[in-house]
């Protein structure tokens, strides 16, 4: 099994989740992060002074899927989170060696 982690723009979360949902990937987890990449910072004002905000708010989605679904998920995310501008974000894929569903104690692919 693989964990797909995607760091995307906060305003894209609804679209990505909708897209995944329609493709049958209903289960997922996400949370707020801040990040820095190629995207330059924003500027905030305080009493006539501009402050450069280096870190931009992003959302990280984590979704654990069976190996065969990874490409499909990547496809959907790149699709739905895309604007073409710097700051669209990245996807990281890593291995998961075991999954347990707490409620049923099922393990592995069945537990997804």
């Amino acid at each position: 099994m693989k964990k797909v982690e995607a760091i995307i723009r906060p305003e894209k979360i609804e679209g990505v989740v909708d897209g995944l949902s329609k493709a049958g990937f209903n289960s997922l987890t996400f949370y707020d992060v801040k990040g820095r990449g190629k995207q330059g910072g924003l500027v905030e004002l305080f009493r006539g002074k501009a402050y450069k905000i280096e870190f931009i708010e992003k959302v990280k989605i984590e979704i654990v899927v069976s190996d065969s679904d990874v490409e499909k998920v990547i496809q959907i995310i790149t699709d739905k989170a895309f604007t073409g501008n710097i700051g669209d974000g990245k996807i990281f894929v890593s291995d998961i060696v075991e999954v347990v569903r707490i409620r049923t104690k099922e393990r592995g692919d069945k537990a997804l």
Binding site: L45, F46, G48, K49, Y51
Partner: protein, 432 residues
């Protein structure tokens, strides 16, 4: 004839009794309407500090110092509430020694009873109305030293400063002393006593304490602009007690003071909004409310003397001056007056005091300024500002020096990094 006599005598009796009754209501004893407005005004002015100013400041600092920032204002309310009734009221408003200070005849408010009257209001009401000015002045100072001043040092400092600076200054301006009495300077509600004094003091403290750890390196941004807005709004609203109460009556002058206070606030807010827009194409809420406060400060000394024309001018111009100080001068001179007490209250207070000497309209408060043919008043105002600065600088340095003998002025760098809320107060403001 007899009938006539009786008739006449009866008339006389009614008249006499009436006159006495009437007299009792209006002349030697207090007027209930004036008293009602002053009780309200005193309440409004306390609202300005607690929670007004505490929130205004508390929203602009980082979340790890919000309790500490609020507590500076609370401490001001605590200490002045007590010292006022013990000795400050007496030293300001009882008698006069050399035009500089009052005497100790009313120590512990000795001699003040519920029947004592001051003008048309009970003396107790006068005592509390004046007291809340003493509280907010001290609290204002804290804006320049937030996020780093040792709380113990703050307490000692304000005890000393209230005695060495506020007390003589208030006596000199409002207690029959040199500035308001002999010199004849105009300061309706505290341009000198409250704002110039706190602004200058704040500047000195900022320089002496030095800048915050990582100031200019990290982004130090307001942690909750909504709190700052609530605070600013309560300052705006409470300021009607501050200014419209300062005539000590519920009358047309109070109405004019209410009006020009609001006019100046709005004019200054608009002015800052326009500057914001011209400079950055964005209009910040912090900018708008900073302008409002600057306008309120500047109209303070003038509010019993100028008409709405003067108010618009004063409001509109003060934001330009404050903006320059806050965004350019502070940067250039590199002092960390964290929440711009000097740039807003110091600059605004002095500007307002000066402009009172220009715009004072005799049809409002009976005093003429430059525009109404009395250039001398402008000079008097300028001198009064200089005397104020002198007194404040000397008194503040002495207070600071004594404080530094007793305890350290600043917290340790590590305490500052953790935040004063946790380090000094053992609390975290927000829990998930």
């Amino acid at each position: 004839m007899k009938q006539l006599k009786i008739f006449t005598f009866a008339t006389f009796l009614i008249v006499a009794v009436g006159a006495i009754a009437f007299g009792q209501e209006s002349a030697p004893s207090a007027n209930s309407g004036d008293t009602a407005w002053l009780l309200t005004s005193a309440t409004l002015v306390l609202l300005m500090t607690i929670p007004g100013l505490a929130l205004f400041y508390g929203g602009m600092i980082r979340g790890k110092n919000v309790i500490s920032t609020i507590y500076y204002s609370v401490a001001a309310a605590f200490t002045v509430s007590i010292t006022w009734v013990i000795y400050q009221y007496s030293l300001i408003f009882s008698g006069d020694i050399g035009g500089i200070i009052g005497n100790l005849d009313k120590l512990f408010l000795r001699g003040v009873t519920i029947d004592s009257v001051s003008g048309t209001i009970p003396e107790y009401v006068f005592v509390v109305f004046q007291m809340v000015f003493g509280i907010i002045t001290v609290a204002l100072i804290s804006g320049s030293i937030v996020e780093r001043m040792n709380f113990g040092a703050w307490i000692i400092f304000i005890l000393l400063w209230s005695l060495l600076v506020y007390t003589p200054l208030a006596h000199m301006v409002w207690g029959g002393g040199y500035i308001g009495g002999t010199l004849g300077a105009l300061d309706f509600a505290g341009g000198l006593v409250v704002h110039t004094s706190s602004g200058i003091t704040a500047l000195i403290l900022a320089i002496v304490l030095g800048e915050r750890v990582r100031y200019g390196k990290d982004n130090i941004l307001p942690h909750n602009i909504v709190y700052t807005f609530i605070g600013a709004a309560l300052l705006w609203v409470g300021w009607f007690g501050f200014n419209a109460g300062s005539g000590l009556a519920s009358d047309g002058l109070a109405g004019n003071a209410w009006l020009v206070t609001n006019t100046a606030a709005a004019a200054a807010g608009i002015s800052w909004m326009l500057i914001d827009y011209i400079v950055s194409r964005k209009v910040s809420l912090i900018g708008a409310v900073t302008g409002v406060v600057a306008g309120l400060v500047a109209i303070t000394p003038a509010s019993g003397f100028v008409n709405i024309g003067g108010a618009i001018f004063i409001g509109f111009t003060v934001s330009i001056l404050s903006y320059i100080f806050v965004s350019r001068v502070k940067k250039a001179l590199k002092y960390d007056d964290s929440l711009d007490v000097f740039g807003v209250h110091g600059v605004g207070g002095m500007w307002g005091a000066l402009m009172t000497g220009v715009f004072a309209d005799p049809s409002v408060g009976g005093k003429a300024g430059l525009l109404y043919g009395n250039p001398n008043q402008l000079l008097v105002q300028a001198i009064s500002i200089l005397i104020t600065i002198l007194l404040v600088v000397v008194g503040t340095l002495i207070s600071l020096f004594i404080t530094s003998l007793i305890t350290k002025l600043r917290v340790e760098p590590q305490e500052e990094v953790y935040g004063l809320d946790f380090s000094l107060h053992g609390e975290k403001a927000y829990e998930k």
